[in-house]
Amino acid sequence: MNTYVKRSSLLVAMLMTAVLAGVTNAGAVANTSPKSGGTLTVLVVAGTWPGLDPLTDSTPTADATEFNAIYGQLFEQGPNGTVLPDLATGYQWIDSHMALKITLRHGVSFTDGTPFNASAVEYNINRDLTPSYACHCAANFAAVSSVTTSGNYTVILHLSRLFSPLPSAFINAIPGYIYSPTALQSEGEQQFSEKPVGAGPFEVQADVANSTLTLVKNPGYWEKGHPYLAGLTFQSEGEDSSALLSMQSGEGQAITGLAQITSITQSKATPGWQVIAPPSQTWEFVALNQSAAPFNNILAREAITYATNPKQITDVLYHGYYPITEGPSSAGQLFYQWKVPGYDAFNLAKAKTLVTQLGGLTVNLQTTSNTVYWSTEAEALASQWALAGIKTTIQVTSLLQLEVSLKDGNWQAADSNWGNYADPALALPNYFSSTGPFTGTHDGSLDGLMNKGAELVSPTLRFKVYQQIYQRMATQADAVFLYQKKLFTVALKTVHGLPTNQPNNYWENVWLG
């Protein structure tokens, strides 16, 4: 089906352009002071929310936007990867940074009327970290040895080792979403996953898993005057064109998850629509397996890095929407630095020389069939590499098969994007430490620097360490870094309050006007 849809997309793009260009203004932009009321329908392309219990849901990362609306979070994402208070009012490192003290907001209740307090948070974290649940959060919370409370509004996480990115690990992740222990115990896990109880800005009215989620305003929400919306509905859409047409026909006022850049350009050209493109937390790169030929030879890694022109790829394939990067870093993350000293930026002459010196270079490039852009991007990379004399075979597989190949070490190069974490200490080791599950890099010095980056608490000192990490990766040509992949939200201009400085939509701040 996917291939069929992809093939049809060119035809559809022409049809869509004509339709979208011909529409009248969807509504004049009203004044921008917040107004209460109205229901916002958000069309989520390829959105699935199998369950609404964050712990037993199989796609909690993708479902963050729905969970944020139902549960709120202990901490929210701020600009440039910063941590902002939400249901927690703050945090403090104690016991020589071996414990994290989290203070909670007073006077907050879950929508079932039970109190949001330290014992509820303690219950949540303990359940979330129970090994048999195999929480997505397990790796990021592996340093937590126990959880205690001090009074009604303080929770303390005791650590077995230093781990400074812990506050960031709560953002858009389990156990940052706190649910009512009373409701969970009385409803049972199955029913709770269909009608959960949180202390967020909205509560669940109806849910058809993976299809339509209808939320209504939580009248007892802690933040005065918020949420502005009386209702919020998430509707899953199969692909870009049906989502765009749905919004065109007036059935939705916002779209998230658009996969094709042509959908963004069409939306931008449509009167009455706006495209929100906040700074990214994800970077696209070509991972290289240094455990086997040809990339166990640094010359081969340098050759392929020199042969890659990321600017051309973003300009041609992505209409310049994605800024390039020379390291594992995006503008929405902490310690952002796109220009890295020592990185082998595009230089075709040097690439050719190295390929000649190597006596030729043949590469197997793996990518996934999940979305159309990956196979197109792989073809573009192969074309650029061909100019330097590098022969490439492209292997497009399912995401699962790619994961299996990476885990088994049965790969040479893989075009993927990973990340979506504000703090690089949470994602980098997965792909670049010697023991990471998807790593192709085995560099003791880099391991040491990454450990140091995760131990230090001072932001200034950490920034220096991450600059060293980026530089080390550049000089070792550990990967070919391409661009910072953005997540777009398309909305009518009558939808206000969507954030432009960080990549997550917090629906309690959104209003219609």
Partner: protein
């Protein structure tokens, strides 16, 4: 009765074979649901824990035997990705796909029989030629594109029907139908074209080659009466065969239609389950579809006897 019992036994064997084959294929594929669920957050310990919790560490025969034992005792198991029981997933999803397929079937039959009759009444005249053009268009336009054209015309331009989404029957018949008309029309289009061509050709053969038609004409029975009362009844036999065989095609087509129109049906659920390697959900849906297709074919065979008394007589003798 003996014939029905024999066919039922065959159907059980088919369903068993389909379930075993699906299970084997899923087992043979690299990776599993645990890997996909944990994705980039996987650690060896959490991966092992999840495999144990989901029963993915068990050998093939034990897993299949466990699933089969559950099915025989009326328990289809729970989804590996969200813990929801497969029965409740099917209860949620089946009405959507069932309604989509039923409406598509009704639309295709309601369109194809009158059009085929009009075309066969006067071959090579305007109605016949028009029916040929419409059928060819219906067969040539990809359903995906047709769906978007329908959405643009009927939802974006005329605002007659919603573009995408679904409302259950419990919200009111008209409210529900508003969401189902465009998807079922899209699904019906390709089928109607096949039915029109098939029925028109068979009706023409009957009208110009069969003795009983000449006999009826000689008795002074009027053309329309011959066509509807005599020729159509005989031509329905091959149509029923194709309709029954096409049930699988209809259900397969519903996967794409559900995706484009954002209908929470079994097709969409099946795609999601396959992507997440949710074996119990895949098995549950595949078995249900196998039962539906074998039942439809059995019913078609029984309908032959009802429509053609000669088949009943042959069966008795």
């Amino acid at each position: 009765l003996r014939y029905v019992a024999k066919r039922l036994l065959q159907a059980v064997a088919v369903v068993f074979g389909v379930s075993l084959m699906t299970f084997s294929l899923l087992y043979a594929l690299p990776g599993n649901a645990a890997m996909l669920i944990l994705g980039q957050d996987a650690t060896p310990a959490s991966l092992r824990a999840l495999e144990v919790r989901l029963g993915l560490n068990q050998p093939f025969l034990e897993r299949y035997g466990h699933w089969l034992g559950g099915i025989l005792s009326g328990n289809m198991g729970d989804s590996l990705t969200n813990g929801q029981s497969v029965v409740s997933i099917i209860e949620q999803r089946f009405p959507v796909t069932g309604e989509l397929v039923l409406l598509a079937f009704i639309f295709s039959i309601c369109f194809s029989i009158p059009v085929a009759l009009l075309a066969a009444r006067r071959p090579r005249r305007i109605a016949d030629r028009l029916s040929t053009i419409i059928s060819m268009m219906g067969l040539s336009i990809p359903p995906f594109l047709l769906a978007l054209v329908f959405i643009i015309v009927f939802a974006v331009k005329i605002h007659l029907f919603p573009a995408t989404g679904y409302q259950p029957l419990s919200t009111g018949l008209w409210h529900n139908l508003k969401y189902m008309v465009l998807p079922s029309l899209t699904l019906a289009c390709g089928l109607s074209s096949v039915y029109v061509r098939l029925l028109r050709a068979d009706l023409s053969d009957q009208m110009f080659g069969e003795d009983y038609i000449i006999f009826a004409r000689s008795k002074g029975v009027r053309g329309w009466q011959i066509l509807v009362r005599h020729a159509l009844r005989n031509s329905l036999l091959p149509l029923i065969t194709v309709v029954a065989l096409n049930l699988g095609v209809l259900i397969g087509g519903s996967v794409l239609i559900e995706s484009v129109f954002a209908l929470p049906g079994m097709g969409q659920e099946l795609v999601t389950a396959v992507e997440s390697r949710d074996v119990t959900v895949i098995q549950g849906i595949v078995v249900l579809l196998a039962v539906a297709v074998t039942t439809a074919n059995l019913l078609a065979d029984l309908l032959y006897g009802f429509l053609d008394p000669r088949i009943r007589v042959q069966g008795r003798s």
